[in-house]
C-alpha cells in the first residue's frame, strides 16, 4: 500500500512537468507578447511607452533568452514560491493573487460541501423510491439546476434581490474589507456574502451529482449481493448502507479529482457577474491581456489541484476497495 502511494506521488512529477511545458508552450503561441500588446495600445492612444522600462523588464524576465531557458527559469521559480511577475499589475503574481486564492479555496470548499450535503440524501432517496412522485420532482429540479447556466442564475438572483429586497448581493464581502487584514467584522461580512455564490455555483453540480448518485445506486440495488444481504435478514436500512451504498461510493470517490478544477474554471463567468474577489476574473483578464506569468501560474495551479485531487481519490479508492488495493498492478 505504501509502495502504491509512493509510486503514485512519483508519477505526479512527470505529469506536472508535461502539463507545465504544455501551458508554457500555449502561452508562447500567440505571435505577440504582453510588451508588444502594451506598446501597440499605447501607440494607439497617441502616447509613448517607456521603452527603456520595457527593455529592462524584458531583460529582467529573460525575454531575450530562448524559450526553453525561460521555461526552466519559470518552473524553478514556481518551486521556490516565486510565480513570476504580472506585467499588467506591475507587481509579483503572488501579490496580485494574494487574498483571492484563499477566497477561491473557501468558495470552492463550501460549494463542494454544500453539493455533497444536498446531493447525497436526495440521490439516495430518489434511488430507493424510484418512480415515486418525490423522485420525479427531485430529479426534475436537478435537471433545472444542470440546465440553467451559472451566470444566468447569478443574474436572476441579483435582479430579484435588488427588485424585492433592494439588496446588492455582489462580492464576497463588503468592499471596504478587501485586502484588509482578517478581523471579526470581515469574517462576518464574508459569511454573509458567501452563501449566494455557493448556492449559485453549486446548483449545477448538485443536480448532476444527484443524477449520478441515483443512477449508480440504482445499478447497485439490482446486484445479487444486495439480495444476499436481505436474505440474511438484515434490516433494509442497514443492508442498504453496508452494501449498495458503499459500492456506489466508488464512483463518487473517483470523481473527487475532477471536482476542484471544474468548480474553479467553471465558475469564472459567475465570479465576473457577481464580482467575486476570486481568481476567476483575474485569470480571464490575464488571458485577454497576455499577461503570461499571471495566466500561466493560474493554469499550473489548476493542474496541480487536478493532479492532487486525482491522487487523493486514487488513494481513497484503494482504501475503500480491496480489489484495487490487492490486485493493483495485475494486467491482462
Amino acid at each position: 500500500m505504501l509502495r502504491y502511494i509512493i509510486r503514485r506521488i512519483l508519477i505526479m512529477i512527470p505529469t506536472l512537468l508535461v502539463t507545465s511545458a504544455l501551458i508554457f508552450t500555449v502561452m508562447q503561441l500567440p505571435p505577440s507578447d504582453y510588451f508588444e500588446t502594451y506598446v501597440a495600445e499605447m501607440a494607439a492612444q497617441g502616447e509613448k511607452a517607456d521603452l527603456s522600462r520595457i527593455e529592462f523588464l524584458k531583460r529582467e524576465y529573460g525575454f531575450d533568452k530562448p524559450p526553453i531557458e525561460r521555461y526552466f527559469l519559470w518552473i524553478a521559480g514556481f518551486v521556490q514560491g516565486d510565480f513570476g511577475y504580472s506585467f499588467e499589475y506591475e507587481m509579483p503574481v503572488r501579490d496580485v493573487v494574494g487574498e483571492r486564492l484563499g477566497l477561491t479555496i473557501l468558495v470552492s470548499f463550501c460549494t463542494i460541501l454544500m453539493t455533497w450535503m444536498v446531493a447525497f440524501p436526495i440521490g439516495i432517496y430518489s434511488a430507493t423510491h424510484q418512480y415515486s412522485w418525490a423522485d420525479y420532482g427531485l430529479t426534475f429540479m436537478g435537471l433545472i439546476g444542470i440546465a440553467i447556466p451559472h451566470f444566468l442564475l447569478a443574474l436572476i438572483f441579483m435582479y430579484f434581490a435588488n427588485v424585492w429586497f433592494g439588496l446588492s448581493i455582489g462580492g464576497l464581502m463588503d468592499p471596504v474589507y478587501f485586502n484588509e487584514p482578517m478581523s471579526w467584522e470581515k469574517a462576518k461580512s464574508i459569511l454573509a456574502h458567501l452563501w449566494i455564490p455557493v448556492l449559485i455555483i453549486g446548483a449545477g453540480g448538485t443536480g448532476s451529482m444527484v443524477r449520478a448518485i441515483r443512477a449508480n445506486l440504482l445499478d447497485e440495488l439490482q446486484k445479487q449481493y444486495y439480495v444476499t444481504a436481505k436474505a440474511k435478514g438484515l434490516p433494509p436500512g442497514k443492508a442498504l448502507r453496508k452494501y449498495p451504498l458503499r459500492m456506489s461510493l466508488n464512483f463518487f470517490v473517483s470523481h473527487i479529482g475532477d471536482v476542484l478544477p471544474t468548480l474553479v474554471s467553471g465558475s469564472e463567468l459567475t465570479a465576473v457577474v457577481l464580482s467575486l474577489q476570486t481568481v476567476g476574473p483575474l485569470l480571464l483578464r490575464a488571458l485577454q491581456s497576455q499577461d503570461m506569468y499571471l495566466a500561466g501560474s493560474f493554469l499550473l495551479f489548476l493542474s496541480c489541484m487536478t493532479v492532487v485531487g486525482v491522487l487523493i481519490s486514487d488513494i481513497a479508492l484503494a482504501f475503500l476497495d480491496p480489489r484495487i488495493r490487492l490486485q493493483g498492478g495485475s494486467s491482462k
Binding site: 449481493y225 444476499t228 435478514g233
Partner: protein, 602 residues
C-alpha cells in the same frame, strides 16, 4: 404498481418440503421457479405481489408452530427473523452474490450476529468453525479473504457457510452448482448432502439439470410456465415420466449414451432447418494445425501464470474438435490465440488453405485483415456479445461492412439469407437484441459468425448460458449448419455431454496443457488420463441406476491438481512429460518412460 400490468407468473403452485428431505424444483428459465423461492424468502422484487395462497413454515425448533409467510410484512421484524435465521438461501452466481468489498468472514459473521448473537471473539471462532465445515482448508486465514481472492467453488462454499451458520430449518438452493465446473459441482453437492444430514434440514433445490436432480432429490416438482406439470418421488419421475413436458425435458439433454448421429429433440421445434447435404466421404485433412502454443499472463518480473503450455492439435476439415476443460484450464485462451485476439508467446498456428499453408501468427496488417473472415467466433454470453445499441441488421451486417463485401443492397440481401439460415424471421431485422430470448440472441451471434463464409468457427461455450431445451435447438442448428455449409468447428466447452454430442475428436485440457486427445468414443469409453477419468465420473447423469460417485475429487485441490494424479502422469521434471500414442489416434500426456500399456494399466 405504478405502471405496467400485472402478469401472473406462478399459478396455483403447491408443494411441500419435509424436514430432512430434498425437494427439487425443476424447470426452464422463465418457468417461475425462482419466483417461488423468492416468495418463500420474502425477497420478491418490488413489483412482485403474492395475490393469493399461503406459505406455511413450521419451525421444528418451536415444536412445529406454523406461520404463514405470505401474510407477514415483507421487511417486518418477524419475516427478517425467519429469513437468514430459519431459512437460508444459496444463489446461482457465487461471483456476484458476495459483496466484493467485504471479507467473507465479515459477511458470514454478520448473518450469525443477526440471529444468534455472540460476543465478538466467540463469533469469529464460530465463523471459522463453519468455514472449516464447508471445506476451507485454512479457516483462520480464509476469514480475512475477499471473494475475488477465491475460486468459484470456494465462493459457493462461503455462500453455503453464510446460509447455514444459523442452522436453518430450510435451505433454498437456487441453481447452486450451475456456474461451477463438474468436479467442483460434485464436491459442493456432496457437501450439501453432508450438511443436510448434520443439521437435519430440508432443502429446496432449484435446478434445470436433471443429472443433479437424480443424484440429490427425494422428491421432484416439475414446473412449466408457472404451473406444476408433475410432482412425486424421484423414482416415479425418472422411471415413469407421465407428462409430455417432462418426457421432452429428459430427451432434450445430451448424455453419453447417445449413438453418433442421433439428434437431440428440442422442446419446441426449430422453425427452419437448412437443407442437409450428404457429407462427402473423403479422408479428412487438417484445416488448422496448432503446434507448441504457449501463452503466459502477467508477471513481467516472473511469477506469471502459464495459461497455455505447449499445446498442439489439428482440427480436421469438416469435423468438430471439442476442447474440454474446467475454468482456468486455458481453453478459451487457445481460442483467443487462434483468433489473434491475444498474442502468443511461442508456437505456430498453420491454416491449411487450398492455395497453400498460412502462418496465422505471422500475419500482419492487410494480410491479417484479409485472412480474418476465414476464422470466426461464436461467444458464450449472448447478452454481452451483442451491442444493445445496434439493430439485428446492423449487427449481422457489420462484418460485411468491415470487409467491404458487396453493395448495401447485396449486404442486406445476405443478412436476410443468414436470418433464414439460423431460423429467425427476417422481419425481426430492425429490432434490438433486448427483444430477443437468449436462444434467439445466440442465433444472431451465429448468423454474424456465418456472414463472411468462414471455414472455421470457434465456438466458445456457445450453449452454456442457455436452458436445456434451447441448448438442444442451438446444438442441432450448429450441426445442421456444419453439414450443409461444410464448416469446421473448434468447440470449446466445459460440458462433457455437449462436447460428446458435437465433436468427433476431443482434447482435454488441464492447467494449460492438453492431457489427452482422441476420437470421441475412445476417449469416453477408455479414458486414460486420471483427469479425464475424473471429469467423466463427476458428471451427474439423469439416471437413477448410475448415481454419482461423490467421493471423487474431494481430496486435495481438485481434479486438475497434478498432485492427485498417479506418478506416471505427474512428470517429476516438467519436460519429462510427452504425448504417448495409445493407438487409433488416441494420445495421452504421460511420462516419457511409459508405454501405452503402462498408461492404460495405471
Amino acid at each position: 404498481m405504478l405502471h405496467g400490468q400485472m402478469t401472473e407468473v406462478v399459478k396455483g403452485v403447491s408443494l411441500r418440503v419435509s424436514a430432512g428431505r430434498t425437494v427439487a424444483l425443476v424447470g426452464e428459465s422463465g418457468s417461475g421457479k425462482t419466483v417461488i423461492s423468492q416468495s418463500v424468502m420474502g425477497l420478491l422484487p418490488r413489483n412482485g405481489v403474492i395475490t393469493s395462497g399461503s406459505l406455511v413454515f413450521s419451525d421444528p425448533d418451536k415444536d412445529g408452530k406454523s406461520v404463514d409467510i405470505a401474510g407477514l410484512p415483507r421487511d417486518g421484524k418477524k419475516m427478517r427473523m425467519l429469513r437468514g435465521g430459519r431459512m437460508g438461501m444459496v444463489f446461482q452466481e457465487p461471483m456476484s452474490s458476495l459483496s466484493p468489498v467485504h471479507t467473507i468472514g465479515n459477511q458470514i459473521e454478520e448473518a450469525l450476529q443477526l440471529h444468534r448473537p455472540h460476543p465478538r471473539k466467540e463469533a469469529r471462532a464460530v465463523t471459522e468453525q463453519m468455514l472449516g465445515m464447508v471445506g476451507f482448508r485454512d479457516p483462520q486465514r480464509s476469514y480475512d479473504r475477499y471473494p475475488f481472492e477465491l475460486s468459484g467453488g470456494l465462493r459457493q462454499r462461503a455462500m453455503l457457510a453464510m446460509a447455514l451458520i444459523c442452522h436453518p430449518a430450510l435451505l433454498i438452493a437456487d441453481e447452486p452448482t450451475t456456474a461451477l465446473d463438474v468436479t467442483i459441482q460434485a464436491q459442493v453437492l456432496k457437501l450439501m448432502k453432508e450438511l443436510q444430514r448434520e443439521f437435519g434440514m430440508a432443502i429446496l433445490l432449484i435446478t434445470h439439470d436433471l443429472g443433479v436432480v437424480a443424484n440429490m432429490a427425494d422428491e421432484v416438482v416439475v414446473v412449466y410456465r408457472g404451473e406444476v406439470m408433475e410432482a412425486g418421488p424421484v423414482e416415479d419421475i425418472f422411471r415413469r415420466p407421465g407428462h409430455p413436458y417432462l418426457k421432452a425435458l429428459l430427451k432434450a439433454s445430451p448424455d453419453f449414451d447417445m449413438p453418433p448421429g442421433e439428434r437431440l429433440v428440442a422442446l419446441r421445434g426449430v422453425t427452419s432447418a437448412p437443407v442437409v447435404k450428404p457429407i462427402r466421404e473423403t479422408t479428412p485433412k487438417p484445416l488448422l494445425s496448432v503446434r507448441g502454443l504457449r501463452k503466459t499472463y502477467g508477471g513481467k518480473k516472473g511469477g506469471g501464470v502459464i495459461a497455455v503450455d505447449d499445446v498442439s492439435f489439428d482440427v480436421l476439415k469438416g469435423q468438430c474438435l471439442g476442447l474440454v476443460g474446467e475454468s482456468g484450464s486455458g481453453k478459451s485462451t487457445v481460442g483467443n490465440l487462434i483468433m489473434r485476439a491475444r498474442s502468443a508467446d511461442a508456437g505456430s498456428i498453420t491454416f491449411h488453405d487450398p492455395a497453400g499453408p498460412v502462418d496465422v501468427l505471422a500475419l500482419e496488417g492487410a494480410a491479417l485483415k484479409a485472412f480474418r473472415p476465414r476464422l470466426q467466433m461464436i461467444f458464450q454470453d449472448p447478452v454481452s456479445s451483442l451491442s444493445p445499441r445496434m439493430t439485428v441488421l446492423d449487427i449481422i451486417r457489420e462484418p460485411l461492412i468491415i470487409q467491404g463485401r458487396g453493395s448495401e443492397a447485396e449486404q442486406k440481401r445476405r443478412v436476410v439469407e443468414l436470418m433464414d439460415c439460423v431460423g429467425l424471421d427476417p422481419r425481426f431485422l430492425t429490432r434490438y437484441p433486448h427483444s430477443f430470448s437468449g436462444g434467439q440472441r445466440q442465433r444472431i451471434g451465429i448468423a454474424r459468425a456465418l456472414a463472411l463464409n468462414p471455414d472455421l468457427i470457434i465456438c466458445d461455450e456457445p450453449v452454456s448460458a442457455l436452458d436445456v431445451s434451447v441448448q438442444a435447438q442451438i446444438l442441432n442448428l450448429l450441426k445442421d449448419l456444419q453439414s450443409s455449409l461444410g464448416l469446421t468447428y473448434l468447440f470449446v466447452s466445459h460440458n462433457l455431454a455437449v462436447v460428446h454430442y458435437m465433436a468427433e475428436r476431443i482434447a482435454v485440457m488441464a492447467r494449460g496443457r492438453i492431457v489427452e486427445i482422441g476420437p470421441r468414443d475412445a476417449l469416453f469409453r477408455h479414458p486414460a488420463h486420471p483427469y479425464t477419468k475424473c471429469l467423466l465420473r463427476a458428471v451427474p447423469l439423469p439416471d437413477l441406476d448410475r448415481p454419482l460417485d461423490f467421493d471423487i475429487a474431494t481430496s486435495g485441490g481438485g481434479a486438475s491438481d497434478p498432485a492427485t494424479w498417479p506418478a506416471a502422469f505427474r512428470g517429476t521434471a516438467r519436460d519429462r512429460l510427452e504425448m504417448i500414442d495409445l493407438g487409433g489416434d488416441h494420445w495421452v500426456l504421460a511420462d516419457r518412460g511409459c508405454t501405452a500399456h503402462d498408461v492404460t494399466a495405471a
